[in-house]
Amino acid sequence: MNTSEIKNLMISSLNDDADTIEVPGRLEKEGISYNFSHNFGDKVLNKLFSAGLSIKREVEFVKYMNFAFYRIALTGVAAIVVLLISIFIIEGSLSLNSFLGLSDNYDESIVCLLTGN
């Protein structure tokens, strides 16, 4: 089949009343065929049925996240304890004023501090 015959076949396949059943076979004879790679089926099945692996990976990720969370939370708690101890040592109590650093200040001095007068 030469190129003009191929072109005619393409155009005629779009006729309303064309019998197109034979067309794919004729094109294939001319080497016009479309295929996936030879292990296409295996690739599809691997993608589908290796889902178990991805679930396993997901579980491991959650496990590591939990571990990381505990590490961060413990560090935070330790920092708070150190802060409380240092406040107690510096201020001599653990009252609200000591937390806010107001224990030694009078109200007037706060006004001065805030307004600058």
Partner: protein
């Protein structure tokens, strides 16, 4: 992995077996219909590596949508619908992507490989078909793919594309006109 000797011939039995977790049955479905899917996907997207990814996605989508397959249409029609939808979505996605970088948004497809052919004449024939297909508007390209590469009738084309027969008929004549114009320039 695929058991080539699987000899269940009935589509319904294959579907039933796949639903009950028989990997070989689904492997048989993939084997049976991969060529059909390749014609649609590669006809529409060109013979590129992306086409193979879309082909895989077609069967993955099929696997997850099998519980919803009621057997009212043929399995091949059902698979073909998935292939058409995914391919058209991919074309839209590429068009959007390319339109961000270029004013020539319609030149999204010109990335394809021509398969090895034994003679010059065959190579030329393959190039003509591939280039003509890719030069067409996607809504006409799908019509040409269904008719020329799959050999579907007007009625079957309408069923797969989920449009009325009248729409297919009007697209056929417009596609033919566009194809003529493209082929004249080749």
């Amino acid at each position: 992995m695929i058991n080539k000797s699987y000899n269940v011939t009935e589509e319904k039995e294959l579907v039933k077996a796949s639903l009950s977790g028989d990997k070989n049955a689904f492997g048989e479905i993939v084997n049976r219909y991969q060529k059909m899917v390749a014609r649609t996907v590669k006809g529409m997207l060109g013979d590129s590596v992306f086409a193979e990814d879309i082909g895989q996605e077609v069967f993955i989508n099929l696997y997850y949508s099998l519980p919803g397959f009621r057997g009212e249409s043929k399995l091949s029609t059902y698979i073909q619908k998935i292939a058409v939808n995914l391919t058209l979505n991919e074309i839209k996605r590429r068009k959007r992507f390319f339109s961000m970088f270029s004013h020539k948004a319609n030149n999204e497809m010109h990335e394809f490989e021509i398969a090895d052919h034994d003679t010059e004449e065959r190579k030329e024939a393959s190039e003509i078909v591939t280039k003509a297909l890719l030069a067409m508007d996607p809504k006409f390209r799908i019509i040409l793919t269904m008719r020329m590469l799959q050999g579907y009738s007007t009625k079957e084309t309408a069923e797969i594309l989920e449009v009325p027969i009248g729409t297919v008929l009007s697209r056929l004549s417009r596609a033919q006109e566009q194809l003529r114009n493209i082929l004249i320039k080749m």
